[in-house]
């Protein structure tokens, strides 16, 4: 019979959990760790109390759900009371999940002891931005495009913003075409690939999942085929 591995919060007599609790408690005292009896997942829930300069407190109930491989992967944050409408414009998707960033752009560092505090700070700033959106109707600060276009935007930025380069290197990025490190770069610079776009392509393949890159490549092919 296969023994189910212990969840992260029970490992080492719960030392990992106690350490996280100690790091968060002083900064977010209204948040408490709980275990969901159905899924066995640990989550952090309670109010984040945003304080305006004029003293007005705004309490927002959040739920931070930890993955089974925590801290290997980052938690997910949710609008637990459903006070914000689900909307791409405010970066909240089904189930009230906060889209804090494009996943490859996450700053999550499993080796950083303050990773959870940093994550909560990002959630706090995200909530502050929600409240500003309520007032102005415009998302404050930087945002990516939605869906696959957000990823394409990231690829483009890593490739220096050149759409023609994205088109040329997409088969290489998606693993559909092999290119030797010493081959001439496809961009036509005359340099070796490893000295030209090789590093950018490598960065992309490290940061983005292979399957995702494949699906983005297929999508780009469909789009270019659809163009008359």
């Amino acid at each position: 019979m296969r023994v189910r591995p212990k969840p992260w919060y029970e490992r080492s007599n719960g030392r990992e959990l106690h350490a996280e609790q100690a790091r968060v408690r002083g900064h977010y005292p209204d948040l408490a760790f709980r275990v969901d009896p159905g899924s066995g997942l640990m989550y952090l829930t309670g109010n984040i109390r945003l304080r305006a300069d004029c003293g007005v407190p705004t309490e927002i109930l959040v739920r931070i759900v930890f993955p089974t491989d925590y801290p290997g992967s980052e938690p997910a944050a949710f609008d637990a009371a459903g006070i914000f409408p689900v909307s791409d414009d405010r970066h909240i998707i089904a189930g009230g999940r906060f889209c804090l960033w494009l996943p490859p752009c996450s700053r999550w560092d499993k080796h950083d002891p303050n990773r959870l505090l940093r994550f909560l700070d990002e959630v706090t700033v995200f909530l502050e931005r929600q409240l500003i959106f309520d007032v102005t109707g415009v998302w404050p600060g930087a945002q990516c495009k939605h869906g696959p276009e957000g990823y394409e935007e990231l690829l483009l930025s890593i490739l220096g913003g050149r759409e023609d380069h994205l088109r040329i290197f997409f088969p290489v990025i998606a693993g559909q075409r092999q290119l030797g490190r010493n081959s001439p770069c496809l961009c036509g610079s005359g340099k070796k690939y490893k000295r030209c776009h090789g590093q950018a392509v490598e960065e992309i393949t490290v940061r983005l999942d292979r399957n995702l890159l494949n699906s983005l490549y297929k999508r780009s092919q469909q789009v270019s085929n659809a163009v008359p």
């Binding site: 002083g26 977010y28 305006a52 003293g55 700070d121 309520d134 600060g141 945002q143």
Partner: protein, 516 residues
């Protein structure tokens, strides 16, 4: 100079803690309302509420050039008020209650004889007839250098709650309920005297015959408008109802007052420092560039009229007093303004500093309006859940304003008169719960972020801000913060996000948000 949540919270809590047990009973015997009523001693009073206005005075106070002509306007306002107050209050004449003057607009109450609706309604109507005659035939003749003044009036009959604000120096009678409101609402601003159906129905036939039925298009309500009445008929009616008004005596008193306060004694000046209205009077007035703010507790008349028992009435009055005191604190302490007066469930405020600086004056007035909204929405409703159905409706306007204190010892009214005062009141009266109405010239003076929170309403020719609170302005201003490093401070007091570092703050450039 700003609104602060914690300051407001502790103020309102202190107001509630110090408020005594409120008592509300029906007034069943004659009493001196000035002595009887207080913040906690309130009475349900059946009576006729009368408003009488001279719409020319605001124009004159705004448009008249500096010098002797302006002193004449001031003299006229004061002397008009003095004689009107005598006519209303003197036991031998109308024996009524002068609640106060709102600028040049009189609010009076007749409740004697107790519960005698016919006699009460008759007095209300006869007062309007007398004052119309007084203005047209006596006052205008005495002030030939002024344009002929006209008079408009409104009156309603029914029960309203009488109370008083609690400050020692400037106690004012406050009346809450439909008749106190409708009497003012049916004023036309031109040469008409109108009464509601309730008051008309209570009139003796002899007086009903002077009225014709008409419709007030603004409210689609049936009202009754006073037609002409010859002075001989008026005097006969007065005699019939035991009212001893002698027009010659009135004329003589006006002449005597004019001799006592000649133009040479009437003074006015601009104000470098905050006006102390209580130090003003007929010989010492202020003419300032000022923004007027009217903040009304929207929904309160219906709230108090629907109170089903004494406990509900007491609760409503407790809510009113808490709101009223907080409104005054926002005006005076948060924004360094002048609370001119309470008018039932609304407050009238004035902002005139820095002297002649229309930009800063306009900004201060709008921020005060937002402060009133903030106190109502964020503090009052938190401490008093029973106020959930109420809200603030606020109007603002800016212009030349005459500021003074009318009357003689004992009962004096703080007033400000000018077109902008009337406009601010109209802007408020046309606004819904949560709205702040400002004209384009005030809007033009605001910061860009704040301007964006107001929406142009073409029908009203005004900018309207809905549910704007201090924290919303703050957030509108913070919109640019998230393209750069932000500093987060967290702890037991909550989390604060800022563009500036503080002790123990953590910092980062916010991530680009995503959706997918």
């Amino acid at each position: 100079m700003s609104w602060n949540y914690n300051t407001s919270l502790s103020r309102v809590q202190a107001h509630l803690d110090s408020m005594g047990e409120i008592e509300v009973e029906k007034l069943i015997r004659d009493a001196d309302l000035q002595s009887l009523l207080s913040e906690t001693c309130c009475r349900e009073i059946y009576g006729a509420h009368v408003y009488v206005d001279v719409p020319n005075f605001p124009d004159l106070a705004t448009m008249t050039a500096e010098g002797e002509d302006y002193r004449r306007v001031i003299q006229a306002v004061h002397l008009y008020e003095r004689e009107v107050a005598r006519i209303v209050e003197e036991e031998s004449i109308f024996d009524g209650v002068r609640i106060h003057f709102q600028g040049a607009k009189l609010h009076a109450l007749f409740f004697r004889p107790i519960d005698d609706s016919t006699a009460i309604a008759a007095r209300a109507v006869l007062l309007q007839m007398v004052l119309r005659h007084f203005v047209r035939s006596i006052f205008n003749a005495e002030f030939p250098k002024l344009p002929n003044l006209s008079l408009c009036g409104g009156a309603d009959l029914g029960s309203a709650i009488g109370t008083k604000n609690g400050h020692r120096g400037d106690r004012e009678l406050l009346f809450l309920g439909a008749p106190a409101n409708y009497a003012a609402k049916i004023l036309t601003g031109s040469d008409h005297i109108r009464v509601t159906g309730a008051l008309y129905a209570a009139l003796p036939e002899s007086l009903q015959s002077y009225f014709g039925e008409t419709t007030d298009d603004r409210y689609n309500a049936k009202v009754y408008e006073l037609g002409p009445i010859a002075i001989e008929d008026l005097e006969a009616s007065l005699e019939e109802h035991g009212i001893k008004w002698d027009r010659r005596a009135s004329e003589q008193r006006l002449k005597d007052d004019k001799a006592t306060y000649p133009l040479s004694q009437i003074e006015y000046s601009d104000a470098e420092v905050l006006i102390d209205i209580d130090a003003l009077g007929i010989t010492n007035n202020k003419r300032v560039l000022a923004a007027s703010v009217f903040g009304d507790v929207s929904g309160f008349t219906a709230y108090i009229d629907q109170a089903e028992d004494q406990d509900a009435l007491k609760t409503a009055l407790r809510v009113l007093h808490a709101i009223r005191k907080e409104m005054a604190s926002v005006v005076k302490h948060d924004f360094d303004g002048v609370r001119v007066q309470y008018q039932g469930d609304r407050v009238q405020a004035l902002f005139h500093l820095p002297k002649r600086n229309d930009k800063d004056i306009a900004r201060r007035a709008v921020h005060c309006a937002i402060g009133l909204e903030s106190s109502m929405e964020l503090v009052i409703k938190r401490l008093l859940p029973e106020a959930a159905g109420l809200g603030m409706a606020t109007g603002v306007s800016i212009g030349e304003t005459l500021v003074s204190k009318l009357g003689t010892h004992g009962h004096r009214d703080r007033i400000s008169i000018g077109d902008s005062v009337e406009e601010a009141a109209r802007h408020q009266e046309g606004s819904k719960c949560g709205e702040i109405a400002i004209p384009a010239d005030v809007h033009a003076h605001l910061d860009e972020e704040l301007q964006k929170l107001f929406v142009w309403n073409g029908d009203r020719g005004l900018y309207l801000g809905t549910n704007i609170t201090a924290e919303k302005i703050e957030r509108a201003r913070k919109a640019e913060l998230f393209n750069q490093t932000v500093f987060v401070t967290s702890g037991a007091a909550g989390v604060h996000v800022s563009s500036q570092p503080t002790d123990g703050s953590r910092f980062f450039v916010p991530s680009s948000s995503y959706a997918g």
